[in-house]
């Protein structure tokens, strides 16, 4: 664009406005300010470029972590947690293996397992607390 190349005839309809043409001057930037501005812009560009680079380096880590978290949450929700009962359940496969182990084990071994599985005081406290919420009501 070349300044003052084109005229604006529309303003001729407005005599006061036309008479003021050229009276309102804006200060031109000084050479010192221009240089300072130029350096500021180049510095900002360099800073943003660096920040973009470091973001690019971090991005794969953040994305991997996010996907891992989502996958872990999905796995837990699907296979190890029944939200209706509010407690962990066994998958069919795990249940079958457990039954096989029990049927093959001797009576002494079974007794040992059950004695180990006796609830501790702490477990009982938890069970009592849960029963208040009808989780173990059945």
């Amino acid at each position: 664009m070349e300044p003052n190349k084109h005229t604006a005839p529309e303003v001729e309809k407005f005599p006061t406005l036309e008479s003021l043409r050229g009276t309102l001057h804006l200060p031109a930037p000084s050479p010192a300010y221009q240089t300072q501005f130029e350096n500021q812009v180049m510095q900002s560009i360099a800073l943003r470029a660096n920040s973009t680079k470091s973001n690019k380096r971090l991005a794969p880590i953040i994305i991997s972590f996010t996907w891992f978290s989502v996958a872990a949450a999905c796995f837990l929700l699907t296979f190890h947690f029944n939200p209706e009962e509010g407690r962990a359940i066994f998958t069919d496969n795990e249940y079958t293996l457990m039954v096989e182990e029990l049927t093959q084990a001797s009576e002494i071994e079974i007794q040992e397992w059950f004695s180990e599985a006796q609830p501790t005081i702490q477990d009982e406290e938890i069970i009592n607390e849960l029963s208040e919420y009808d989780v173990y009501a059945e």
Partner: protein, 181 residues
């Protein structure tokens, strides 16, 4: 280097080369900073805000020039970025912004020189300030820079007919304010 002998295609080729990119961009700043400053500043923007807008304009230009499709001139494209930034700021700070008369009466810290205006000139400044952002832009492009409607239309993405009507309304409003006692 000035705009008359500036070869846009040759400049773009230099910008697209890694080793000459910084020098080419500095050249772009030197070429357009003055014009853009005047255009933004006329729209009732303080020196500090104008400085911020221009910085953001050039930074955006740097990041987007890679994808510049050469459908318009670089100058038009730069004006469009600056205009969008200006309108955003004007809309955000409608109350805050004012064309401070003191900034014209005394030199600014940044080394700018100013010209004192009489009462009518002051009225003109105030009248321009009263225009809505887009109308203000159209008026400033046309009245101060005498920019062709076709170019304003490219910058603003509106038809020439709409621009002419908008300019006429703006000029009418300002003339009414100026002729009031």
């Amino acid at each position: 280097m000035n705009l008359r002998n500036w070869d846009e295609k040759e400049w773009l080729a230099r910008f697209r080369q890694e080793d000459s990119r910084n020098a080419a961009f500095r050249e772009l700043i030197q070429l357009f900073q003055g014009q853009l400053y005047a255009q933004v500043r006329r729209m009732s923007i303080s020196h500090q805000d104008c400085d911020d807008i221009l910085q953001e304009t050039f930074i955006k230009a740097w990041t987007k020039l890679e994808y510049f499709r050469e459908e318009s001139r670089i100058s038009t494209w730069l004006y469009r970025i600056a205009l969008n930034e200006t309108i955003n700021l004007l809309n955000k700070n409608k109350k805050k912004l004012s064309w401070d008369a003191n900034e014209f009466a005394a030199p600014l810290d940044s080394g700018f020189t100013t010209v004192e205006g009489d009462e009518l000139v002051e009225k003109l400044k105030q009248a321009i300030e009263l225009l809505p952002p887009k109308q203000k832009a159209i008026f400033c492009y046309r009245y101060f820079d005498e920019m062709p409607y076709a170019e304003i239309a490219q910058i603003m993405g509106v038809t020439e007919g709409a621009l002419k009507a908008s300019y006429h309304h703006a000029a009418q409003k300002i003339e009414t304010i100026l002729t009031k006692n």
